[in-house]
Symmetry: C2
Subunit: 127 residues, 2 copies
DNA sequence: CCAACTGTATTATAGTATTGATACACAAAT
DNA sequence: ATTTGTGTATCAATACTATAATACAGTTGG
């Protein structure tokens, strides 16, 4: 279990965890019943404080995406409507796409270049 | 004068202003000598504090992108190398594109859908 | 039972970030 | 000289983020 964390980012660590898990659960990459890594494991791996991880987990538990079982690891809750549809997942990425569109306009960049660059980055990512 | 501000965003207002101006100046949409709207105008329009705008302006002045003239409005500084090249502007949007690529992977979205949606948003934006 | 493992509540601390209210210095125009 | 327009220095008030050190309640496996 990875967690793509960047401590130099302006978005706080706990929120990076929250958002990442929200996406992976919504997409079905994490399935109901899957156990999450323990807060201490994550904390040690990324040299952050266990409570920071716990905070992220708690928020997701309040959201209904995770289930807390005393003494046992957190696990993914059964999703009410099953996996999100492709359309719904596309909605989740829309804010970031709108951000890109805004920046492109402000940078006076044409659609083609931006799309070409995005395709390049996504292809590189698949490896 | 526009300023696309979102007070509900997690990125602070002053940074939204800074980044937006950086892009528009780099792209040449704002040319050397162009005057900026006064801090009070911007503040009133968006119902924020004038100091928030001033902070953004000051940062850009320290960066050399703006010039301060006492009693007169801030204006865009002459850019050392003229407008940024298209390649350079593409670099400026890369972090946001990488963010999109990350999210797409975590959402298990295929490249085509993401690109199609981005194209749609950018087309809508041009109006 | 015991040891090792889960998550969490608590309290404290530190640092940083963000925004705001107020008063001030300066320029330009009348 | 006065008014109106710049930007901003200063100080204050929060809010946020992360860390630390404990202690506790529960499960699991030997």
């Amino acid at each position: 279990m990875h967690f793509d964390l960047h401590s130099e980012s302006s978005t706080p660590i706990y929120r990076q965890i929250v958002e990442q898990l929200r996406r992976e659960i919504g997409a079905g990459l994490l399935k109901p019943g899957d156990a999450l890594p323990s807060v201490r494991q994550v904390a040690e791996l990324h040299t952050i404080n266990p409570m920071t991880v716990s905070r992220a987990y708690s928020l997701l538990e309040a959201e209904g995406l995770l289930i807390r079982q005393r003494g046992k690891p957190m696990c993914v809750a059964a999703q009410p409507g099953g996996q999100d549809s492709s359309a719904k997942r596309l909605q989740l990425i829309t804010p970031s796409l709108e951000q890109v569109a805004r920046e492109a306009r402000q940078l006076n960049l044409d659609t083609e270049s931006v799309i070409a660059e995005l395709a390049r980055l996504m292809k590189k990512d698949r490896k």
